[in-house]
Amino acid sequence: MLITITIDGCEVSVPKGTSILEACRMHDIQIPTLCYDPELTSDGACRLCVVQIEGNHNLPPACRTTVWQGMVVQTQSPKVRAARKTILELLVANHPLDCMTCQKMGNCFLAEYAYDYGVTGEIYQGEKRKLPIDDGNPFILRDPNKCILCGKCIKACSQIQGKSILDYSFRGFNMQVSPAFNLPYNESDCDFCGSCVSVCPVGALTEKHMVGKGRPWEIKKVQTTCPFCGTGCNFDLNVKDGKVIGVTSNPDAPVNGKALCVKGRFGTDMIHSPNRLTTPLIKKDGVFVPAEWDEALDLVATKFQEIKNNYGADAIAALSSARCTNEDNFVMQKFMRAVVGTNNIDHCART
C-alpha cells in the first residue's frame, strides 16, 4: 500500500511503514545523519535528521518517524537548520580539530555537515578529551577523542557480526565506546572483522594500514570478489598510484553487504608483498635463474611436446587452481584436453 506525503513542497508516494528518512533517500532528498545505517536498527541517537512536520510543535527525527497519509514535511526550514546547527556545534565543541592530518578527512560526515551548516567550533569552547589511542593491534586504530558516540559501531558489532564487543562506558562527558572494562581491542574477544570501522562516520575508527597512504579524492575504488574462502564477499579495493592501499566495504555487495572478515578487510596487503614472484625463473644446475617469458614458455612447450611425443599425452598432468578465476580454469582444462590431449587435470576440489 502506498502513502502519499509532501516533502519540501513535492508530493511523493512511498510504501506504508516507510520512515521519513527512507522516503527522502528514495527520492534523493538530502538529510544529514550520523547514527543511521540501512543495515542497522535506528535509535535516533544523533538527532541530526530532525525535520518539521506540519501540525507538530517539536522536531522529530526522520529516521524514527513513520510516514502517514497527507503528511507535510519540511527538511530544510530555518527552524530545522538552526536545530541541526546547534547539534553540530555541540558535537564539535569537544572534537579535535586536527582535520588536516586526520585519516578521515574527505570522508568525515561531521566535517561535511559542519561545512554545510557553517559550524567552526568557535561558539562553544568546550573541554577536549585526552584519552589514550588504542593502537595495540595490527588492524584498527581507535581514537576515542574523535568519537561522537553515535553508537553505529556498537550496533554493527552486535547486529552484523553478532559479537557485542563494543558498548558505551562511563557517563556524561566521560562517556566512551570501548570493549568491556575499557580494554584495548587486542585484549578483548574481538574478531577484527572491522564492521565497526566500516560504519564510523568520523575519524574515531580507521584502518591502521591505510593511515597516511592516501586521501579519498586520490583513491580509485574497484569493486571485486574476495580471494579467500568460498563465501564470495565483495569489497572495494582502494587504489592509489597503481597500488592497492587497502580494502573498504561496499554496501551494495550482494552476499555480505558491509560485513567482511579479518582476512578480506585486512589481508590484501599480500598483493604487494616483497615475496611476490616478478619474473619467470628457470632452474639451472639446481639454482633458479631469471628468464624472459619467451625462453621460459618455449622451454615448457618444448618439454611438454617432447614428453607427449615420446611417452604419450597421459604422461603429463596438471593441477589447476581453486584460487584462480573461472576463465583461468577453463583455459587450463582446455589446454590439457585439446592441446596436450589428456584428461589428467584435477584441483583441490575437495579441500
Partner: protein
C-alpha cells in the same frame, strides 16, 4: 549450497556438522548469528568445541569420524517417533525400502550413543528439533568430507534431509560450505579428470562429440588422474611432467613427505604461482602469475553465484594474468588460443556449460548471477531442487557406519584432527604482514587432562610424530578439544602439519582423510 547465503537469517533451525563456520567462513558465520538473533535454533555437531558451539542450543561432541552412526541414530529416532515427512517421502523420493529401513534399524539411540559418545537425550533432542522445525537447514564442511568415507557421510546427510522433507525450499536444504574462493567455479569449469565443463562426463560419447566439435580436435575418452593418483604415478614413472597452477601440494596435501617424493621423481615440474611456494621450490620452471587484483575474470562462490573479479592494478613486475600464460603455451604447442579477454573466454564457457548458458560478464555487473542460468533472460537460481530434484527423485541410500583408515592405537595414542583458523587462509595469507603479525605461529590444541598427564605447560614446544612424519610445535592447552584429541592447522610452513596426516582417501572422490590419524606427542628433550 542448495540454498543462498542470505536465506540463512530467515531459517528456523541450523544443523551445523563438521564446520567451523565462524573461522573458516566468517561472514556465513555472521549470517548464522543473525539467524540466532531472529530466534532460530542451532545444533552444532563437532568433536572440537568451536566458537559456534558456544552459541548453540545443542552441542553434540561426537567422537571424530562417527558421523554416520550419529545421523543414522537420528533417523532411527525420527522414524520411531513418526517425525518423518511421509508426504515428501512419497512424492519426492525413492529407495525408502526395506534395505534402507533395515540399516537404520541397526542404530537405535543406545547403539548410536555408544558409537558416537553422544548421550541419548542429546540425540533425541537433535532429531526432534531438526525433524519438527520448518524451515531447517543442514550445513557441513570438511569435517564431513575429509574422511575415507566422506562421500558416505554426505549421502547420510542427504538421507536425513529427504526423510524430513527439509529440501527444495527457501531457507531449507543441504549446504556444503565450499572452502576455496573459486573451488565451485574450478569444478564447474571442468578442472576435474572425469568431466568436461558443466559436469558433462568424459565417458559420455555425446559429450565427447560435443567438445570435439567445439574445439576441432579429437579428445581422449579416458578419465584422467585424480590428485593422489598423480603422486603415485610420478613415483612409478607413469607420470613424467606436472604443471601445478596456484596450488602448493607440498604443504596442503596429506602425507606431505610422500607428495614431495612424488614431485621429486618427476622429469619436469612447472609451477605457476604468485609466490615461491614450497612446491615451486622443487620446480624446473616457475611462471609468475598475477593476483586477483591484477586481472579480470569471475569467481563462483559456495552459493553458485558467479561474480566479477575486476582488475584494479597492473600485474606486479613482469608477471602476467594466468589465462594469458596458458593461452601462450597452447599457441606455442600448435593450437592457438586467441581469446582477447576473460569476457571472451566466458562466451565459450556459456556456449558449452548449460549451467552457465546465460552468463556473460556484462550481465553480472556488481551483483552476479547464481547458476543454473539457463539462457540470456534467465534470472538465475536462488535455491535448488524446488518441486523436483536434479536427478528426478531424491534417492535414499543405506549407509553403514565405518571406521577411519587409521585410528589411535597403543603406539600412536592421540587422534590428530586438522582445520583452519580465522586469521589465515591456507598458506598464502602468511604473506600479509598484518595477518602474520596477528597470528604468526601454529598453536596445536591439547586438552588440559592430557597436558597434565604429559607434564606440558601452556606455550611449550612439543614433538609430534605419526607413522609418516614428525615436527615440533608450540601448544595451547584448551578444553576446545576433548581428551585424546590434538588439533592443528595447515597454515604454517614452519610446522607443516601434513607431514603427519594420512594419505588414505575416500573411495569415490579421493579426498584425503585429513580429519583423523594417530600421533604420539612427547616433550622435546
Amino acid at each position: 549450497m542448495t540454498n543462498s547465503i542470505n536465506e540463512i537469517p530467515n531459517t528456523k533451525l541450523m544443523f551445523v556438522i563438521g564446520s567451523n563456520t565462524t573461522e573458516a567462513h566468517p561472514v556465513i558465520g555472521t549470517k548464522m548469528k543473525q539467524a540466532l538473533a531472529n530466534g532460530a535454533k542451532l545444533i552444532v555437531v563437532d568433536p572440537r568445541e568451536t566458537q559456534l558451539a558456544e552459541y548453540s542450543d545443542l552441542y553434540l561432541r561426537l567422537r571424530p569420524g562417527t558421523d554416520i552412526a550419529l545421523i543414522n541414530g537420528m533417523m532411527n529416532i525420527i522414524l520411531a517417533n513418526g517425525w518423518e515427512n511421509r508426504a515428501f517421502i512419497e512424492e519426492r523420493t525413492e529407495g525408502f525400502d526395506e534395505k534402507f529401513l533395515e540399516t537404520i534399524a541397526k542404530y537405535p539411540p543406545e547403539v548410536a550413543s555408544q558409537i558416537t559418545g553422544v548421550p541419548v537425550d542429546q540425540l533425541v533432542e537433535a532429531a526432534r528439533l531438526y525433524a519438527t522445525t520448518d524451515p531447517a537447514q543442514i550445513f557441513y564442511t570438511l569435517g564431513i568430507t575429509e574422511h575415507t568415507y566422506g562421500t558416505d557421510n554426505v549421502m547420510s546427510l542427504a538421507n536425513l534431509a529427504l526423510l524430513t522433507g527439509n529440501l527444495g525450499k527457501e531457507s531449507s536444504g543441504v549446504n556444503p560450505l565450499r572452502g576455496q574462493n573459486n573451488v565451485q567455479g574450478a569444478c564447474d569449469m571442468g578442472a576435474l579428470p572425469n568431466v568436461y565443463p558443466g559436469y558433462q562426463p568424459i565417458v559420455s560419447p555425446a559429450a565427447q562429440a560435443k567438445f570435439e566439435a567445439a574445439w576441432g580436435v579429437s579428445l581422449s575418452p579416458k578419465p584422467g588422474f585424480m590428485i593422489p593418483d598423480m603422486f603415485e604415478a610420478a613415483h612409478s614413472k607413469n607420470l613424467l611432467a606436472l604443471y601445478v597452477f596456484g596450488e602448493d601440494p607440498v604443504l596442503t596435501d596429506a602425507d606431505a613427505n610422500h607428495v614431495r617424493k612424488g614431485l621429486e621423481a618427476l622429469d619436469f615440474l612447472v609451477v605457476q604461482d604468485i609466490f615461491m611456494s614450497e612446491t615451486a621450490k622443487l620446480a624446473d620452471v616457475v611462471l609468475p602469475g598475477a593476483s586477483f587484483a591484477e586481472k579480470d575474470g569471475t569467481f563462483t562462490n559456495t552459493e553458485r553465484r558467479v561474480q566479477r573479479v575486476n582488475q584494479a592494478i597492473k600485474p606486479i613486475g613482469n608477471s602476467k594474468p594466468d589465462w594469458e600464460i596458458i593461452c601462450e603455451l597452447a599457441t606455442r604447442m600448435g593450437y592457438p588460443f586467441t581469446y582477447q579477454s576473460p569476457a571472451d573466454i566466458m562466451l565459450e564457457v556459456a556456449s558449452l556449460a548449460p549451467q552457465y548458458a546465460g552468463v556473460t560478464h556484462g550481465r553480472l555487473e556488481n551483483h552476479g548471477l547464481q547458476w543454473p542460468v539457463l539462457s540470456c533472460d534467465h534470472p538465475g537460481t536462488k535455491f535448488l531442487h524446488e518441486g523436483t530434484c536434479t536427478r528426478g527423485k531424491g534417492l535414499f541410500m543405506p549407509i553403514e557406519n565405518q571406521e577411519p583408515n587409521e585410528s589411535p592405537d597403543a603406539e600412536y595414542p592421540f587422534l590428530l584432527t586438522t582445520g583452519r583458523k580465522l586469521a589465515h587462509y591456507n598458506v598464502m595469507t602468511r604473506n600479509s604482514a598484518a595477518l602474520e603479525t596477528y597470528s604468526p605461529e601454529e598453536l596445536a590444541e591439547i586438552n588440559p587432562a592430557d597436558a597434565k598427564r604429559l607434564g606440558f605447560q601452556d606455550g611449550e614446544r612439543v614433538h609430534v610424530k605419526s607413522r609418516r612424519g614428525e615436527l615440533d610445535t608450540k601448544i595451547v592447552i584448551t578444553e576446545r578439544v576433548p581428551e585424546g584429541v590434538v588439533f592443528m592447522t595447515l597454515h604454517y610452513l614452519e610446522t607443516p602439519t601434513n607431514v603427519l596426516t594420512n594419505g588414505a582417501y575416500d573411495k569415490v572422490t579421493k579426498t584425503y582423510e585429513y580429519k583423523v590419524c594417530g600421533v604420539q606427542i612427547s616433550k622435546i628433550s
